[in-house]
């Protein structure tokens, strides 16, 4: 650990790197919010999951979101390589899946209201977790739409695709959150 091995320190970083770093830190911050959300489930209802929870719907939502992550990744790769057609196609596909996901959550809420309304322990947790997550999905759809409308005329090329990367990263983050929410809400059992 001497001075000799110390690598050159980056000082005065460019705006792109700063933006990336800022986004990462915001994601770290938001992740701790989800950590709080998920931990409250184990406090309020422990491992209790009612039988009325629709496992099919839960699995369907999970698959939808995972596949949308792939399409978002493909959109980013396309933008990085200047492939305009694929970029538009995959952004649209991701957004559609996002909207479908929101529809699925809406259906879930409709069903859940009958079986476990917000005045029950599990209902409280379900509505809060899916509500917060759906808000994130909604913001992700908006961001992707924004990127689409700005980029459909070729605004993003191999050198300046950072906005695409940022929107897609946000989308992946929402996906990661769901990766933890899914077992927390649907799969654990007493």
């Amino acid at each position: 650990m001497t001075t000799a091995v110390r690598k050159a320190l980056p000082q005065g970083l460019d705006t792109g790197t700063m933006n990336r770093l800022g986004l990462w830190l915001f994601l770290v911050s938001d992740a701790s919010f989800f950590l709080a959300l998920i931990s409250s489930r184990f406090f309020v209802v422990r491992l209790e999951t009612p039988e009325d929870v629709s496992q099919i719907l839960g699995l369907g939502l999970t698959i939808l979101l995972l596949v949308s992550s792939l399409t978002a990744y493909r959109a980013e790769v396309a933008a990085e390589h200047g492939d305009q057609a694929n970029f538009k196609r995959y952004i649209i596909a991701t957004m559609l899946m996002g909207i479908l996901f929101l529809g699925g959550v809406g259906f879930e809420w409709h069903e859940a209201y009958k079986h476990f309304p917000p005045s029950t322990g599990y209902g409280t947790i379900l509505f809060t977790l899916t509500g917060v997550h759906a808000t994130h999905v909604f913001s992700g759809v908006l961001l992707l739409g924004f990127i689409y409308f700005k980029g459909k005329n070729g605004a993003y090329g191999p050198d300046d695709y950072y906005p695409v990367e940022a929107a897609v990263k946000w989308w992946h983050f929402v996906d990661v959150a769901w990766v933890f929410i899914y077992p927390t809400l649907y799969l654990v059992q007493i």
Binding site: L21, T62, L66, L70, F173, V176, P183, L187, Q189
Partner: protein, 91 residues
């Protein structure tokens, strides 16, 4: 990243999604087969692996990691005395 060819990047995405699908199937199987704390722990581990895959391959985690590593190293060994002496002014 720019050095990576497009087909290679896309292929990697496909691999990742296949592994994610398999892990989701395992998750579901665990939930069907087991209950209680054991099930919850295993589900947590699988979810961690899935998240790690997405974070690492889709979100390019090493962007952040560079800085985390640097800060970690520097906070343990930040010393004004160690800073290399500059000789430009003295010359």
């Amino acid at each position: 990243m720019a050095a990576e060819t497009k087909s290679k990047a896309l292929m990697r995405g496909n691999y990742v999604i296949v592994v994610l699908a398999v892990l989701t199937a395992i998750e579901f199987a665990i939930a069907v087969a087991m209950t209680g704390n054991l099930s919850a722990t295993l589900l947590g581990i699988v979810a961690l692996i899935k998240a790690a895959l997405i974070i690492d391959y889709f979100m390019h985690f090493k962007q952040l990691w560079t800085f985390v590593a640097e800060v970690w190293y520097e906070m343990l060994d930040a010393d004004p005395d160690d800073a290399p002496d500059d000789t430009r002014n003295a010359a």
